[in-house]
């Protein structure tokens, strides 16, 4: 379980760097985002044999920083003055998906753009994505 979480962190942090650099070349950032989703799906398949609770813990450890900032955004709780940086931190955390997020369109809901809501809920969606793929029956 811990090995899986460490692997996810390593992949995520290297994808973070790849995501920033690729954004200099418009289009490549979208490719990086798609590759990231595929690689995470492959990682999830590695966790197939783990009990469900361990899959949940692995995904939660992997997304712990983003879950923390998402909770700050949703609750408006200014823990240690971090609230105003929470959306910045979520943006940086999800840099690997920047290319796809930027395609979210320009619609506003309750005074905020669509990508804002995607960022706030992506930590939970990422966990579900990982746990879901890790739980699909092999044929």
């Amino acid at each position: 379980m811990l090995v899986n979480a460490v692997r996810l962190y390593f992949i995520h942090l290297s994808a973070f760097a790849a995501g920033i650099l690729s954004s200099y070349f418009p289009g490549l950032d979208i490719m990086v985002a798609i590759i990231y989703l595929v690689v995470i799906a492959l990682e999830a398949r590695r966790a197939y044999e783990l009990p469900l609770i361990q899959k949940i813990v692995t995904a939660s450890i992997w997304q712990a920083p983003s879950l923390f900032f998402a909770v700050l955004c949703i609750s408006s709780f200014n823990f240690l003055g971090l609230y105003e940086y929470a959306i910045f931190m979520l943006q940086f955390w999800f840099t690997p998906l920047l290319g796809l997020l930027s395609l979210a369109g320009i619609n506003y809901y309750f005074d905020k753009p669509l990508y804002y809501y995607l960022l706030v809920y992506l930590p939970f969606i990422s966990c579900i994505y990982y746990i879901g793929i890790a739980s699909i029956n092999r044929r």
Binding site: R7, A18, L42, Y85, F88, Q91, A104, P113, Y116
Partner: protein, 208 residues
């Protein structure tokens, strides 16, 4: 018997992104060698600030500066700065669009239009006028307005039209009108870049 392909797949997942980082770094450096050799490039300012422990846009507070916005024209540039900002004297920039409104970009709103009054919160404020035909400035405002709702990302590079930060919106709006506000041809635009441009003059500035 099945372990070899599995091992290969295990390594593939771990090595793919580091390899992409190397590839993209090589492409970026080779296509921007003069920027990397320029010690005044924005990235070196970020690194210097980080070494001093300054990250982000500095110590935010409502400083209640009393600068006058009287006489601003559409297309003028407004800069605001908090102490210990990582990118220089100014942390934010917006374009005046008329009727007390500015076009700007923030993380939680993307590119959007809002009242100018929040620039009173900054400790440092500077109002710049781009030396250009009023019709050209009007076109720059309209062009910037067309980015409304687009995504904000603090480290948005100059190329591309999906990801923006506050400085890139203004640079691009004037760039499309044939006015290059960044004479250093850097990878990024920082708010301070506009102060150094030969195409602008200072209307007034204030530091508390």
């Amino acid at each position: 018997m099945n372990t070899k392909p599995k091992r290969g797949r295990n390594k593939f997942g771990l090595l793919l992104f580091p390899l992409l980082v190397l590839l993209f770094s090589a492409l970026l450096v080779s296509s921007n060698r003069p920027v990397f050799e320029n010690q005044e490039a924005v990235m070196y300012a970020y690194i210097d600030s980080a070494a001093r422990g300054n990250f982000g846009y500095g110590n935010t507070m409502k400083y209640a500066n009393d600068i006058s916005f009287a006489g601003l024209e559409a297309g003028d540039i407004i800069l605001g700065g908090y102490p210990d900002c990582a990118y220089g004297r100014f942390s934010h920039v917006a374009m005046y669009s008329g009727n007390g409104q500015v076009i700007e970009a923030f993380a939680d709103y993307g590119v959007h239009i809002r009242p100018i009054d929040h620039f009173r919160d900054y400790k440092e404020v500077c109002l710049l006028r781009v030396e250009a035909d009023p019709e050209v400035k009007k076109q720059a405002v309209e062009y910037a307005r067309s980015f409304q709702g687009k995504m904000f990302f603090a480290l948005a590079f100059k190329p591309g039209d999906r990801i923006w930060n506050c400085s890139k919106v203004i640079w691009k709006a004037y760039n499309e009108q044939g006015i290059e506000l960044d004479e250093s041809e850097d990878l990024w635009i920082s708010p301070d870049t506009f102060c150094d441009s030969s195409h602008v003059s200072i209307i007034r500035e204030k530091g508390i």
